[in-house]
Symmetry: C2
Subunit: 365 residues, 2 copies
């Protein structure tokens, strides 16, 4: 089996790139197994096919390099020394004047400026698609890790549901859910902090939990996930707090149907756009098209948001091993909202949902 | 009282900058109160003194803008539309050809490329120091929030200590600590995932918790923090798991003395370098200078790592309200390590430690 660096080398050659630079993030971890935090000390991995990978890093991180077959360019705590470490690494790989791919969504000006200063004649084209390609089709081990991350998340929410009461704040529900995620085995470094939003806050798809107390009649959106062995889950269920307005029960039903249609639409050879259309058609037909304000989903794996994106304009074809969310929603501004989200993976015959927690409207409180 | 935007305007004029661009992060939140996550959809706040701030953001985040006095440039889910939103915002503020400051540690190429395409004749100097200035001196309300974040962290670790047993893994201790942080009131979005490292892993200052089980004779380093109202704490204590080697008890004592010397060294008008020297002198005198491989500390407030940095080469003068960590350590490669970290704030008369949890070597397990 070729190493992931070999796969990257082939992908770079296809894209006519001489090298790539990566800062801490999922691509660096996927390739090397190394974990670094994004901080004020720049860390950059440089890879040029046919050469040993090079890494510029703080001296105090050097112990992470034991067992790695890389050239290391450590620097001291004094920022005045950092430039020299970058220059030595760039010179060692001979990158000046070359086409050095970057990952704009991840790379900061902090790292980029050091690299550019050391390679003033280089070009820095966007290598996002070559790099995304590396992680696009999940192998069986990756799918197994994602399944476990889903399982942990589902178990954690099931343990939280009986504790949810009218009068609790969104923050309290969110904290309790995090406790349960940890108890059920999530890694402490979670993919994202759970969204717990109720009533008018549920009308905001990206709400942060507030001190607002749960009230009877609220819809309660819980968007949460777990991390397991570097892979994550990202799910949403929407609950009714006591009796809710008839319209809210209706939009819940519409969203549930849209979610089912979106889950059914995925298969090898289908476009991402067709998955988006499947959910959107259901919501539009029910008269709520204007209140479904976001795309149907995003890729998932080591990150919460990665390729492929389930958007109406994305004609990318689904392939076996691609994994993504299906998460239609209806948001009634100033009133309430509903979203139902599952994690899918494309199989030979269609799309499998990794998540199976009940989707119908359950009553809490 | 001038608004934070007024303070920024004055600071930009002093630095001869016409404007500044910010992506999601503590500076944006400090200025505006707005929270966004860094994701694949770029969000940028543009500010030019004398004009209403402008923000480019996804349509689905527009509900966050209620009550904000800003020009908004929302874009749809289709990335083909994003460039136009950036161009409209840049044009509205007239930024092309101007000196537009950036924050390299925060800004990604993703956001920067959109801005640069829309303002090809602009310069983009590093505005980090003007921006750091905004958050450098904590006001009493900020100090109060930091104190609360320290209190939550200390209470959480005190609740965790009795649960720590020989045979538990580092990961299990870390998860339990996170549970206790939440129970004691930390915001779910924590400053960082606790470092729990024992034995030879404790010799790595930036270790991530592993499945290694605690053994008698280990030193156990716990580096943890809480978040409260947007402010954080960042503390470290080191424990002995049962009886430990005499040398480990000795280095614990040395680090404790170095920590005390570092805490005592802070006062208005002292240099950051003098705080670093105070801790380092103690460790060097004890013969372990080569094993204290990092700076003495970093600024703290909304972020774990911000200005001012306690480094031997930093001649910056401390002023009332500056807040920072004092965290000397000794790391014996392949064997064990010790670090003791407190959070300080400069007062009229010296430096106050916000943390007061016992620092002597306690035995656990």
């Amino acid at each position: 089996m070729p190493s992931r660096f070999d796969t990257l080398a082939a992908s770079l050659r296809n894209s006519n790139l001489d090298a790539v630079i990566l800062n801490p993030g999922p691509t660096l971890t996927h390739l090397s197994g190394l974990h670094f935090h994004l901080m004020e000390r720049p860390v950059v991995l440089l890879f040029a096919p046919g050469q040993k990978p090079a890494i510029v890093l703080p001296e105090l991180e050097m112990q992470k390099m034991v067992g790695q077959d890389m050239q290391t360019f450590p620097y001291s705590e004094n920022p005045a020394d950092w430039d020299a470490a970058f220059r030595a690494a760039i010179a060692s790989l001979g990158l000046d004047g070359k086409r050095v791919g970057v990952e704009p969504r991840q790379l900061r000006l902090l790292e980029f400026n050091y690299v550019r200063n050391a390679a003033p004649a280089a070009d820095f084209p966007d290598a996002s698609s070559s790099l995304a390609e590396l992680r696009l089709r999940k192998d069986p081990l990756e799918v197994q890790r994602m399944k476990r991350a889903v399982e942990i998340a589902q178990n954690a929410l099931e343990s939280t549901i009986p504790l949810i009461k009218v009068g609790m704040t969104e923050r309290e529900v969110s904290s309790e859910l995090v406790v349960q995620l940890l108890r059920h085995g999530s890694e402490p470094e979670m993919p994202f902090s759970p969204i717990v939003s109720a009533g008018l806050n549920a009308a905001n798809p990206h709400a942060s939990p507030t001190d607002r107390k749960l009230q009877r009649g609220d819809m309660l959106v819980v968007d949460w996930g777990a991390a397991h062995d570097g892979y994550i889950s990202d799910l949403t269920r929407t609950f009714a707090v006591g009796d809710v307005d008839e319209e809210y029960a209706k939009i819940h039903k519409v969203v549930q149907e849209a979610n089912a249609a979106g889950r059914a639409a995925g298969k090898p050879g289908a476009t991402c756009a067709s998955v988006d259309k499947a959910t959107r058609d259901v919501i539009e037909k029910a008269g709520y098209g204007n209140f479904f304000t976001h795309r149907t989903g995003h890729g998932i794996g080591m990150e919460g948001h990665e390729e492929p994106y389930m958007r109406g304009d994305n004609m990318q074809l689904l392939e076996v091993g691609m994994a993504y969310t299906v998460e239609p929603g209806i948001y009634l501004p100033g009133r309430n909202g509903v979203r139902i989200e599952d994690n899918m993976v494309i199989t030979e015959n269609g799309a499998e949902s990794l998540s199976d927690m009940p989707r119908e409207m359950r009553v809490v409180g």
